[in-house]
Symmetry: C2
Subunit: 123 residues, 2 copies
DNA sequence: ATTTTGCGCAACCAAATGATTGCGTATATA
DNA sequence: TATATACGCAATCATTTGGTTGCGCAAAAT
């Protein structure tokens, strides 16, 4: 019995179910800021960290998440890593908005016709 | 000194800093699905829960978050509550995309000019 | 009037998040 | 060659998230 105890080591089962999609990526305000900055110009983690009130490691972790959901791409240059924004992936958010955009545009259309009808009825 | 120990009760400081913005709202896939559904037609929590593989309470919690970030509005009808999508708030995401959209549109513009130049040079 | 239904709220739990510190490695500089 | 710098990774921690169950209240249905 005691042998059994020794035999069964506590395995690190730890099933990780992290959602790593674009929406999770842009959920954090710091990550959104990072995205905006590197969209203008590719930057290294250190350069980025200078603009935020947290450690380089914290920024690196955010970048890691952004990389996992493919919102950023990396480009090595010696010991430095330049992070770029993957605009194509940002488009996914835009795509999700599509049906909603149709809605708020339709709303205006309807408002337009209402106004038109009002105008036509006036005289 | 001992008196001091007794005097300082462990206060429940527990500073709650929950981000309740649109991006946090749409970070969860279930919440995005809820939003899509009620954008088409206002629904009650029970009606919504029927479409998901989780309890009504879980859905209610999601709705609570969506309400807190103003992505949904409620309308009471007796003991039922109909949840509506607040399209105006969804627009905030669209607004954030603006600079990025400009980028990917500019890209196409440049591609267009490249193609044009290629065409002009051909003959 | 009693029971059923629709719903929010509180308590609880496992897992994920956001941040920190310390460490190892590879590249640049002295 | 020795030192400084840039960076990722692992461990750790408090807080948040996403889910559950159980409860109570008000509106409907019986």
């Amino acid at each position: 019995m005691i042998a059994y105890i020794f035999a069964t080591e506590r395995l690190p089962v730890k099933k990780v179910i992290m959602r790593r999609d674009v929406f999770q990526g842009i959920a954090d305000p710091t990550r959104r800021a990072i995205l905006c900055m590197i969209a203008m110009q590719a930057m290294t983690p250190n350069a980025l960290a200078e603009h935020f009130d947290c450690s380089r490691q914290a920024i690196s972790k955010h970048i890691k998440i952004l990389t996992e959901c493919q919102l950023v791409k990396q480009e090595y240059s010696g010991r430095e890593i330049y992070y770029h924004c993957n605009i194509k992936k940002v488009k996914e958010v835009d795509k999700w908005l599509e049906p909603f955009r149709e809605m708020w545009e339709h709303k205006f259309d309807r408002l337009d016709t209402v106004l038109k009808n009002l105008k036509n009825k006036k005289p």
